[in-house]
């Protein structure tokens, strides 16, 4: 398990991390969310020991992260970088060797990744000649070649077209199936929701919320109840129940109610007030939770 406990990091007068804490279960996929400049990349670099925290600690399976542990990690940084003049296959093998693989093994694995990522035509070409998307695929192979226990991916989907994004998604799901723990950041909420089992939202260097989607939802104070068709009788019943109107769309009425409401009783009240054809309790989306956590939405 990865445990990040109250880490702090200053760069001169800038407080990049004030207090970031979260825990990631082994074998899970964890989403790190936050607006630009919130401290996601600094948090990832601190986990990888690229940066030393000014306070707090990071542990992997209860032990501090030293060189030997870090070697079993993989990293895809937000800013992509490859040796432009080095051939793709040679490059992947090199990074495999940096993570402790022997050359024949690294070569065997590199060939498998090249085939899987559909970049076989470029294997012998210098990386600089590849498109941005294909360079990103090479970097993913570099990061994952040694089958890391923990793979940290900073904005892995940025710059990828939908087809390549699907390939990456499949790769990440496969790594998860094989038992790797993944920590990733992305601004594509739908991809994170599809992949991740737990999340942490950080803003201005602080953890705002953290937990599984179910936990985050359970902590959400309100729910949207969608009933239809919209009618004065239905609005009257809602008012009597203390619900506020959040909006009306496609002939349905969205009501903002407390998360602890008795939804069975609410349904009975609406049925008694009018002829309804729809009653739906809408759970907050990750997007809603994110916006609220960073203070953009109430």
């Amino acid at each position: 398990m990865l445990s990040v406990e109250h880490i702090r990091k200053n760069f001169g007068n800038v407080q990049a991390l004030r207090d970031v804490s979260f825990a990631v279960d082994a074998g899970s996929v964890f989403g790190l969310l936050g607006p630009n400049g919130s401290g996601k990349t600094t948090t990832m670099r601190t986990i990888l020991n690229i940066l030393n925290p000014d306070g707090g600690q990071v542990t992997w399976n209860g032990k501090p992260i030293d060189r030997a542990v870090r070697r079993r990690f993989g990293y895809l940084p937000e800013e992509r970088g490859l040796y432009g003049k080095m051939a793709v296959r040679e490059q992947i093998v090199y990074f495999g060797r940096l993570h402790g693989l022997h050359e024949p093994d690294a070569l065997k694995r590199a060939n498998a990744w090249i085939e899987r990522l559909e970049i076989g035509d470029y294997a012998l070409r210098p990386a600089a000649e590849l498109s941005k998307g294909n360079q990103q695929k090479v970097q993913i192979a570099c990061a994952a070649l040694h089958e890391p226990e923990l793979l940290i991916l900073d904005e892995p989907f940025s710059g990828l077209d939908p087809v390549n994004a699907d390939i990456l998604l499949a790769v990440l799901l496969d790594l998860k199936t094989k038992g790797a723990t993944l920590v990733l950041s992305s601004h594509q909420m739908w991809q994170l929701e599809q992949l991740c089992t737990a999340f942490c939202v950080i803003n201005k260097g602080e953890t705002r919320v953290s937990g599984t989607l179910a936990e985050l939802r359970s902590a959400w104070p309100t729910r949207i109840v969608r009933v239809g068709p919209d009618s004065p009788a239905l609005r009257g019943a809602a008012e009597r129940l203390g619900a506020t109107v959040a909006g009306s769309e496609n002939g349905d009425l969205d009501l903002n109610v407390s998360a602890t409401s008795d939804f069975a009783e609410m349904l009975r009240s609406f049925v008694g007030a009018d002829s309804i054809v729809k009653f739906e309790v809408v759970e907050p989306s990750l997007h809603d939770i994110y916006l609220r956590a960073i203070g953009v939405a109430a």
Binding site: R45, I50, N52, G81, Y83, M86, L98, A143
Partner: protein
């Protein structure tokens, strides 16, 4: 250790195949060949420049002057006094100048007419005609004059290092050549190390590397790859030099020795094992110090265009060392030379120059090496601090205060 070997071997292979290294190797080899071959090829032209002359004098005077001039110059012909002297006359005799001699009561008057007055060997002509001048001024016989002018001058060396003037002069020439070579080898290869660090930072691959390998391992590998390539270059160039120097066998070596411009002759006469060892030690010390500092400061830049401006201040001590070393070749006992031969960054050049041309006490050599090793340790600490943080520092270039903060930080 495995990390180091992986990074070192990967970087070495990448750099060996890189265009700058190959171009540098080829150009250096061409320069070595030129240094060996050109002096031999050009020497006759240089030595004989302006020495072909036509003598203009009356017959008795010409008969006296011709053998005297012929000892040091080439007399292409003799024409009587009063002959019109112009370019056509010089062309007719394939001569560079016309030497007109007239007799006076007090001696002789010599007038030289030349196509290129700057190339006239007037000193040699004056020396050659001195007996004639004395003969006409004093009316002594030529035998008496020859005996009077034949002063018995001998120079004996009191130096413990050189036994003859010729040997000392040759050592100075060799030291000059090697100091220039040492300087360029250190500076060029340190710049290669700096460029390699800057390339990894600006291409953003540094983050990926530092996530996998300890930054100090990366830094050490980078500097030692530079050292390896420098030694490799040196071996190729020395190999080419040895091949060229010994190519013609004994006859050629003899000819080379006879030629004052011959590098082969210079090396053969004065390149002692002591000088070779000193060159190797001070090259390694100089290179490691300068390239380590260069690597550290290169980690602070975000654009390769900034390399020149940031390395500029660091080159100044190196240039100072180079010029003091050149001074040391002619005056190895100057206080400034002695003092700077202990100052790191300067001493690799200055102490080497001192050792090449004079006898330096062993304790001074040992102290200089020890101080350089100590300074190297300090430079590694300094560069390591900068590198560890600098490689992850993007955005605006850091200010002095920020660099100071980096150096003061505990990790």
């Amino acid at each position: 250790m495995n990390d180091f070997i992986t990074v070192y071997s990967g970087d070495l292979m990448r750099r060996i195949k890189s265009r700058p290294f190959l171009i540098g190797l080829v150009l250096g080899t061409v320069a070595i060949v030129a240094m060996f071959k050109l002096p031999t090829m050009l020497a006759p032209t240089i030595v004989n420049q302006g020495t072909r002359l036509v003598l203009v004098a009356d017959a008795p005077l010409a008969a006296q002057a011709r053998p005297l001039l012929a000892k040091k110059l080439t007399v292409k012909g003799v024409v009587p006094a009063g002959t019109r002297i112009d370019r056509a006359l010089l062309q007719r005799f394939h001569a560079d100048s016309a030497v007109s001699i007239a007799e006076l009561k007090s001696g002789i008057r010599v007038t030289i007419f030349a196509k290129n007055p700057t190339s006239v060997p007037s000193g040699r002509i004056r020396t050659a005609l001195l007996p004639l001048q004395v003969q006409h001024a004093t009316h002594l016989t030529s035998a008496q004059i020859a005996a009077a002018l034949d002063a018995n001058i001998e120079v004996r060396s009191l130096s413990t290092k050189f036994h003859s003037v010729h040997q000392a002069v040759a050592a100075q020439g060799l030291a000059m050549t090697l100091v220039v070579f040492l300087y360029f080898l250190v500076i060029i290869n340190s710049n290669f190390v700096m460029s390699a660090v800057a390339e990894e930072k600006t291409s953003r691959i540094a983050e990926l590397l530092i996530a996998s390998v300890d930054p100090m391992v990366l830094l050490a590998a980078k500097v030692l790859v530079g050292a390896t390539l420098s030694v490799l270059q040196l071996l190729v160039w020395v190999g080419v030099g040895i091949a060229l120097g010994s190519g013609g066998g004994t006859a050629s070596a003899g000819a080379a020795n006879a030629n004052p411009f011959s590098l082969a002759g210079l090396l053969g006469n004065t390149l002692s094992p002591e000088v070779i060892l000193a060159f190797g030690i001070f090259f390694i010390l100089g290179f490691l110090q300068i390239s380590t500092v260069f690597a550290g400061i290169a980690s602070l830049i975000n654009r390769t265009e900034d390399l020149g401006s940031i390395s500029g201040p660091m080159v100044i001590p190196t240039i100072a060392g180079y010029f003091i070393a050149l001074l040391a070749i002619n005056a190895p006992a100057l206080p400034v030379v002695t003092v700077t031969s202990f100052v790191p960054l300067l001493s690799p050049f200055v102490m080497f120059a001192r050792m090449a041309v004079s006898h330096v006490p062993l304790w001074q050599i040992g102290t200089s090496i020890a101080l350089n090793v100590l300074a190297l340790w300090g430079f590694v600490w300094f560069a390591g601090k900068l590198y560890r943080v600098g490689m992850m520092l993007y955005g605006r270039p850091p200010k002095i205060a920020q660099v100071w903060e980096i150096l003061r930080s505990p990790s």
